[in-house]
Amino acid sequence: MDFLTIVQISDTAVRFAIPLLFACLAGLFSERAGIFDIGLEGKMLAAAFFSAAVAALTANVWIGLLAGIAASMTLSIIHGLASITFRGNQLISGVAINFLAAGLTVLVAQDWFSQGGRTPSLSDFGPGARFNGITLPFAESAGDGTFGVIYRELISGHSILVYVGLLTVPLTWWILFRTRFGLRLRAVGENPAAVDTAGISVIALRYVAVAIAGILCGLAGAYLATGLQAGFVKDMSSGRGFIALAALIFAKWRPWYALWACLLFGFLQALSLRPDAVEAMVQVRVPGQLLDALPYILTVVILAGFVGKAIPPRAGGEPYVKER
């Protein structure tokens, strides 16, 4: 396998890692505040549909992005109502949200576009209807040296959301570990009673965390449908929300580790597109189905704790009751 192939696979890996990264960071905010969120998948799917649909209707991807975030936020609020206000089971609420998104997106897509549950291809609506690649300065004249190829093929040429996603990692780190809000957020996931005693509203903090998760899932879905691909197809999130959760556990609920975990999963997904390269690497014919299943298998291996023990936030999944 030559150098250029490796760089190209890495480039695909970065593209695939970005939706995982957004969703993973969404889960990070939510779970650090003590709210389990297995509805990442559904929120991503809803955002993917509404961003693509509105981008197709307005020919403006930015309005589409806002619509995607709004859709994801709506589901976040439902999750917040169920798990914070009404102290319901957070897992069941997440499952419901996933199905709600899976059903509603197809239903609305059929109603709006009548194309069997998909949106029309965004490439038919002019260049403004999707996020296109940005060529970074000097990328064309970077030359053919090792660094030049990496810069041109791997670092340059992604859409704006990829760079936003990568910047969200240090931003998340800074918010969580260097601001007062971040300290309180982490505390509310470990010991909500202590936060309450200090006179800070547990309910409000958790709602803010869930809302941030909504925004980030909105970005994830919008990137999926308007950056990575040009339009929405049924069930296009295909388990990414769950892989993001596994990445979150692998990363032990830390932002920088989350980036590496998501890149790893993105790499595995990229490999399944290049069975020829895999074959050249391991010298045996690997069935395509095994390559497809690889991210899921790795998720199970990680969850089994074979790669270090992960300790979740202590108050995760438990609704907070003020008086007992």
């Binding site: 109502l81 419901a96 709600l100 509603l104 998720t299 969850l303």
Partner: protein, 368 residues
């Protein structure tokens, strides 16, 4: 203190929750420009208006009884098994292997072994997540979801590379031999001149599903093991203190759960398709979650909820045939039922408790 009488807890709350879910579903139908009452009429005629419609409704009901029971048994041990879909897929593989590789003389002989095959494969697929939960603390929700994806990949591999007859295009096994064909309702109930249930897939598996309901009820409420499962589910520390091994309960509950999901494949693979196809489960594993939540994890409740969802499923199919409403409407209804009977339970319960409390107070004042 119990604020509410038992009947309110067992019947009133689920009924109100389902009512809210259905009202919202009607809202969705209005929002996509259809008439909900006309839609309901289409669904009722299509699913319950003829013996043919009933044949489909009961066929789907059979699936949902199995998957609903699977989720319910796991719920009793406070395990959330979302892997019914994958377990049923693997169950289909087990059933297919039994039916294809043994020359069965008659279906009565084949059926118990096929049941065993489906149950074993389903249980095996549930065993790994269960073991990881019990021994390594890996969250069962995420591992079972992952196993759904892995099951789909495995099944595709088996059908495309191993079981597909040479030269065939679609990924499916050959037709099962004659000796494994289960009698359908048409074979069983057409006594007169005119055949009933003509062409509908409901078959003898329906009665096995009813027996499974009875079996689960006996297991959960009439055996020592069932008592241990419930005790552990109510309070893990208390169960541990009473000498109940968490590992054993998690494993046993999940194995039974997986076996029940796997047995569903008898209905779809041996009863209906008479060969193994790629998408034989069709989301029934997930509908089992809604069925179990709605049925309050009680076998009788599961039976009723499965009937309702069987009706919705067949009605939804008819609806997508005659109108512009896609089949995904059933997924939305399923989501709303899960949301309101599962997660937003307190939204109905809290105000209701307040009403009952006020009612009781005014009563005691009167008597005072």
């Amino acid at each position: 203190m119990d604020v509410m009488p038992k009947w309110a807890d067992a019947l009133l709350i689920p009924l109100i929750s389902i009512l809210i879910a259905f009202i919202l579903s009607a809202g969705v139908i209005i929002a996509i420009g259809e008439d909900p009452l006309a839609a309901l009429r289409t669904m009722v005629t299509g699913a319950l208006g003829s013996s043919y419609g009933w044949g489909y409704t009961l066929y789907y009901t059979t699936n949902f009884i199995f998957t609903g029971l699977a989720v319910a048994v796991a719920f009793h041990a406070r395990m959330f098994n979302i892997g019914g879909e994958g377990q049923a897929m693997l169950g289909g593989l087990g059933v297919a292997l039994v039916c294809l590789y043994v020359p069965w003389p008659h279906w009565i002989v084949a059926l118990p072994f096929a049941l065993l095959g489906g149950a074993l494969f389903g249980a095996a697929w549930a065993a790994i997540p269960a073991y990881l939960q019990a021994k390594r603390g890996s969250h069962i929700v995420i591992t079972t979801i992952m196993f759904n994806f892995i099951a789909a990949a495995l099944l595709t591999y088996m059908l495309v590379e191993v079981l597909k007859p040479a030269g065939a295009m679609d990924p499916a096994t050959v037709k099962f031999p004659e000796g494994t064909h289960l009698p359908t309702f048409q074979d069983m109930f057409s006594f007169g001149e005119k055949p009933v249930f003509r062409g509908a897939p409901a078959n003898v598996t329906f009665f096995i599903a009813l027996l499974a309901c009875l079996g689960v009820w006996l297991l959960i409420w009439r055996t020592r093991l069932g008592y241990e499962i419930r005790a552990y589910g109510h309070s893990e520390p208390a169960g541990r203190y009473a000498g109940i091994s968490p590992t054993k309960i998690i494993m046993v509950a999940m194995l039974i759960s997986g076996a029940l999901a796997g047995m569903m494949a008898i209905n779809t693979t041996m009863g209906e398709a008479e060969r193994l196809v790629l998408n034989s489960v069709e989301g029934a594993g997930f509908i089992g979650i809604a069925v179990a939540l709605m049925g309050r994890s009680h076998p009788f409740g599961v039976l009723l909820a499965a009937l309702l969802f069987g009706f919705l499923y067949q009605g939804g199919a008819e609806l997508s045939l005659w109108t512009n409403v896609p089949r995904e409407l059933i997924v939305v209804i399923q989501a709303l039922v899960i949301l309101f009977t599962g997660a937003l339970d307190n939204m109905v319960r809290m105000p209701l408790e307040r009403i009952f409390l006020a009612f009781r107070r005014s009563k005691s004042e009167e008597s005072a």
